[in-house]
Symmetry: D2
Subunit: 461 residues, 4 copies
């Protein structure tokens, strides 16, 4: 018996632009509906339980998470993120998955119940794309089955690693082994025993004249001797357990050369391919967070117990305007990310690069501001554990620096744009040439002489 | 011989989102290409000529405009804006026309060469939708043929007319006539002899208990006795000639009762239908302005003559970031307006209301800011007639107040949103109920007692 | 032997406006210098130790704090905040103390070493101003000697207590006792055994027709039976131990009637007097935080290890501009708070009300933004415990809601301002009258007729 | 008979900070009061007349201006700006004059009635400081007497002249003459016959190895042959008549070598001294404009005729907040500029440099935004000649680019600040050293090891 087509006039579909809705295939509608039902009934109401379990055993996957993962897997909700081009993929387009990701974002750990969380998503994609069969057998398939967890280790404390050519951890070949020495930040905590694999980017050939051929990526089992976690890094005070963000020391860490991915010196090639869809996922999850924060704002605005100067919070015009502005901006952001996803679907990841950067630059900063305003509507309580808003804000704030700060991405976009200036100038020179003819034709050469009209259209002599 | 399909990898198409491009029919692609060619070759280079002709005779259509209109009409570029549902329409969807409107917006008078300028567009739509055959014969068809110009007269100086229920100009029925007395602002200048018709909104029934049945719309020939233009209103100092913005006095102005549109007391019904697509046009034209301003920024950034401290303006990282930010925001705005247009196409104007408000609130304020930054890159020159940026900024600034200031629209959106709060609260109560069950199931009732967990999910008792 | 006059061309004095510097008396110069030396040598370098001690025993004053307090007291650095008008005061003006407060703010716990921390400062002032001798003996003098700690209990979870007329905790007189029932938020944690006293604002006369006569303030010893701390409230995830922010239940809590301050129904009178200087202290401490954050920005900007794209962070023009903007805004904020302090000195606390509101509204939001930008310059690390910036930001963010959210204060200022509109209108009417005479005199009555010139100067008829 | 001391509890004094008020000497109080009375009764109400006279003869000083100047001179209100150090000065401090300048700023031409307008102020100061006696006799004294007008000619169209080392107009010595060739922008219009003198900065020694010794300043009589005004530059569409902003061509313009100021190659020395106080005047006048705009906002907010949705504009909470925010920011800006002026008084112009930059960067952009918001409160009317707000905004916008755009000043401040980083780093290293000792003392060396605590305090190795 066929599953009935979901009702697209209700949530979550009622929020989608018409053009998006028309592109969602029946399969996708059903998956999105299933994800929605899952998050609404299994995740949002379970936040307290998850917190309580984690409070008892901070660095282990809580039993409820294990149970929910098993159940989600059984329901066919595992690995939805994996793009269609992979044979292991459940078949959603980037746009279809973006819809799922927004819903997952409502609870920060919901994606994990569906094996769709960072850094797993990026890692799985990387392994699926660049590993050989043996490596896949050992690492990719168990990850897809959710049997253990993985980490991605790139950032370093001692250099500006947002410019990856600076990455300095040393990887030296000694016989059949690579030997590593150095420090890393931010990869998921080893304290969590589920984490079995680190994908490490390091420097194998520091003197290669091409700075994009100096680095390699290696598969590092977490129990490799010499590989130590110094401490967990908190993010705005949150320890982010049980995943965490470790600070690591590599001291004569040794793995077989067969652990290199794709080949020595090919880390940039791999990194390039890794980040696109993941940034979209982050951004859609953030929009999900923004939506939930917005709902809390509506709840507070209409809370009959809270009446400063005798009016509901939502009866103050200033707050009415604030709520409208949040709504308008959230919807604009969704259009930006959906478009980026759709561009990847239509034209490939490379063409999607601009849309991804656009999402990465505009979404986190705006969503963080929106959540901040929602907190403000809650007054003092808004900053306490009486609402989840502080954690939500922190996640948005974190994404502003994850994968490089806003400014780095803005610079990249700006530099790309300036390369288009030549064409623009050429076009404007054509305007100028036609204008010169028109002036002659209308006998206005004197009146509209070059030295007293728009400089901008003049050739630069 | 069939016209070849335009190359969609070049301008103007290369700027469109993939989803938009895929919706443009061959007919539309050709029209858009034709509009693009027209504006690039006939309008942008002719700006100086138009200015010079206007300088000589300020309140008349310049000869070049008359000539371009004739030519554009001959090329089939007239009235492209008129929506498909009208039998007089050339057949573009709202989305397809939005593409045209952006291009037209590059030069503020380009739309007029194609009979696609405000207030003509709104007026024509209104007349096409609500007039009887006799009225259409007299006013609509000549307007579509571009034989004269029309004006829309709604704003008043003595009341807050952004809330149209306040409109107070008196219209009294006396026998077979309506007699008007009062003042109006902003309708196009009567000093321009081309303007033959004013569509007036006034008050016929001030004591009707339903404030939305008190007003009527009338057709007022511009030469009606008693109807005087007191002065032209400048906008930020610009007289906006030859269209202008008049300040009017109605003193015992008399028209036959047959000049009422749709019927007495039906002005709100008409006004409702009028504004939607027009706001989209304004917004797309503004994006066109923003794009041109952005091009000037690129031109300046790479102008080899301008090297403060020895670097090109575009070599300063601060400006690289500014240029990126402008680019990203302009593209986000285009997504917003395209989506509003597409929603109207897919679901009708009423469903498009939110998207239209979103465009109206986000586009003008952002484009004005972007143009302002472009001016700033030009230093002192940026504010002078050496660039068209001051006029472009002024247009964007004006649209922030046209059809009511931002805040009025934001309030409307906010009030609509607050009506959804009930559903949100109900949903959150369901989360709470499920959470209660889970607490029982996990034996965490004490630990997660209501009075020490998230207040937000608790029912309001 | 006289202490030498401090060198006012070095820190901390070199930052002060000339007008401020000229108002600092020799006594104050020495105190400020002493506070500066204290914080530079005893507090800033000791932050790690304090953290480590607190990590071991979370809800007790760390031994180092106890030691530093004893030493600061011996050096004459205790209670500097207490205004000159109190006989217990060390004699600094508000302006002079503001200088001290900025320095103390560099480390959030430094004020406590000098018994100048919130809520102690407000509580001490309140007790000094409104208590009778017996109450002073029991509570004020030990507090001044630093023998125990106190808390202020006003905010409630179930009402909008930023509008204090809503405060609802019930205080009923029964014989010689008051009996309290209700809930409170945010007063310092009872878990810290040093906290001996709670100053409670509650409702004694809910039906009094004057809503500002319904409330009373009581002295509540922390070990009073029935007074329970339900949990600690975190602020953006930080527990703020060992002070904390408690969530309290009052269940038939009973104190003798002699514990009322000033008399029943006089809480508003007391509250009025309490908040002024305390807000200034908060704001100056925040400026101190902002200054330190700014120093971290400079440190990062010149860190030779961090060179994205081959340039120091401080060699990017965009960052040069950011650093300048932070510097300019911090200095402007200091002018605002210094002026508020000086106004209180010159004209009394009541006249200072506007300046205090100005500080409260402008400082926290701006300093929070500045710290946020400093974090961003540190990339991912900026959000971790590798810098103290996250805690600093959190403090600034918290002050945005402490004592009522920004918007509440802005509303108050706005309402006060609108009361001045009558005078402004009257002044503008005089302009209009003179203008009428001038028009006559110059024969320009027609040309400058009322209905075509500036509406704004016309009388409203 | 002595003039009575003004009442400092009323306008204009009631707006001043207490510290400022206490520094105003009796002489200054009287001058400020006189300026206030003058502007209130003679300037504000005469704006319509001035406009009408100018409309008739656009490029000549209106008769009313000539009459007001004569009257103001007779009242002793001429040249108040000239700093105390000049023997020709009326004796006000920079702070005292700043008070006058704010008042003058309420009407943009009011300063001119008192011979206190730009560029006269800067020019007079320059001539007084650097000219020899003969030059003074010929140009300075008549200017002080208000007998003619002068212009300052620095900006050029073909280079980035905000970096003055780029100034390229050629000045060649030929015998006893200098011969000039090149183009200039922005100096006051020659079309106004009152303008008799241009102070020109040009390049006498393009190959001098010191780029700050290449330029000279010359006195150019406006009727010098070969010196032509090509057109007037509008500012955001305003012609700014009768002063205007000319675009000039110098073609073999020849003046005697005695027209050089101070000596060849000394233009930078002169320019340095010129700009300080003038920027303060601009900023204070802008604050005056902001204050007047704010008053219009209050007038509109309480206008009984304007009631959207049945409420006064000032009854909307959103507008109450907007009005408060404007008020708070204007007052903060005044503190900034007053402090800059007072710093110059106390420590000299050089020490005032930072405060001047602070004013120049913060004031224009903020005042422009405030005026923009006031316009917005007026809806469509706000942009028309129904209020003076558009011209006021334009003035504020112009000052953002006058004397170089914001960004240029921000860069300068930022670069100066980065020079202080070394001291900051040194201070932080001392913190680190003390911290190391404390760790030893408390036995926390392991726990607080360098590689897991705050990076920021660590020496860079």
């Amino acid at each position: 018996m066929a599953t009935p087509k979901p009702d697209t006039t209700t949530l979550p579909f009622s929020k989608y632009p018409a053009w998006t809705l028309s592109k969602l295939r029946p399969l996708a509608l059903q998956k999105i509906q299933a994800v929605h039902d899952w998050v609404e009934t299994k995740c949002i109401p379970a936040q307290g339980i998850m917190k309580a379990q984690l409070a008892k055993d901070r660095w282990k996957m809580p039993p409820l998470m294990r149970q929910l993962r098993a159940e989600a897997k059984a329901r066919g909700l595992f690995n939805l993120f994996l793009p269609k081009e992979f044979k292991e993929s459940p078949g959603l387009t980037n746009l279809e998955y973006a819809c799922c990701a927004e819903i997952m974002g409502r609870v920060y750990w919901a994606a994990q119940t569906m094996n769709c969380h960072a850094p797993e998503t990026g890692n799985i994609e990387l392994l699926a794309k660049y590993c050989n069969d043996e490596q896949k057998e050992k690492w990719l398939y168990p990850l897809l089955r959710g049997e253990f967890a993985s980490a991605y280790s790139m950032t370093e404390p001692d250099v500006a690693s947002s410019d990856a050519t600076n990455i300095s951890i040393s990887i030296q070949r000694q016989g059949d082994s690579y030997v590593m020495n150095g420090r890393k930040l931010f990869a998921n905590a080893k304290w969590n025993p589920d984490v079995k694999l680190y994908i490490l980017m390091g420097c194998t050939d520091p003197h290669n004249p091409d700075p994009r051929r100096r680095h390699s990526m290696l598969l590092i089992p977490s129990d490799t001797p010499g590989f130590r976690m110094r401490q967990n890094l908190s993010i705005m005070g949150y320890d982010c357990a049980p995943e965490g963000h470790g600070e690591y020391i590599y001291e004569d860490v040794r793995v077989p050369v067969s652990n290199v991915i794709l080949g020595e010196g090919r880390a940039f090639e791999i990194a390039q391919g890794r980040l696109g869809p993941g940034r979209i996922h982050h951004c859609m999850r953030l929009i999900g967070q923004g939506e939930l924060a917005y709902e809390y704002a509506l709840v507070r605005a209409t809370d009959g117990r809270k009446k400063p100067r005798g009016k509901l919070i939502g009866e103050f015009d200033s707050n009415i305007e604030r709520i409208a502005q949040m709504r308008l901006e959230l919807d604009a952001l969704r259009l930006v990310v959906f478009n980026a996803a759709d561009t990847m679907d239509a034209l490939g990841n490379k063409s999607g690069r601009y849309g991804i950067a656009q999402s990465k630059i505009l979404v986190p900063v705006t969503v963080a501001r929106i959540i901040d305003e929602c907190m403000q509507l809650y007054g003092g309580q808004g900053l306490t554990q009486h609402t989840p808003l502080p954690e939500m804000w922190t996640y948005a704030r974190f994404v502003r620096v994850a994968d490089g700060p806003d400014a780095a991405h803005r610079h990249q976009v700006g530099r790309d744009q300036l390369k288009t200036a030549g064409d623009v100038v050429a076009r404007h020179l054509r305007y100028y040439e036609i204008a010169q003819e028109l002036k002659k034709q209308f006998g206005l050469e004197e009146e509209l002489a070059d030295d007293c009209t728009w400089e901008y259209i003049k050739p630069k002599l």
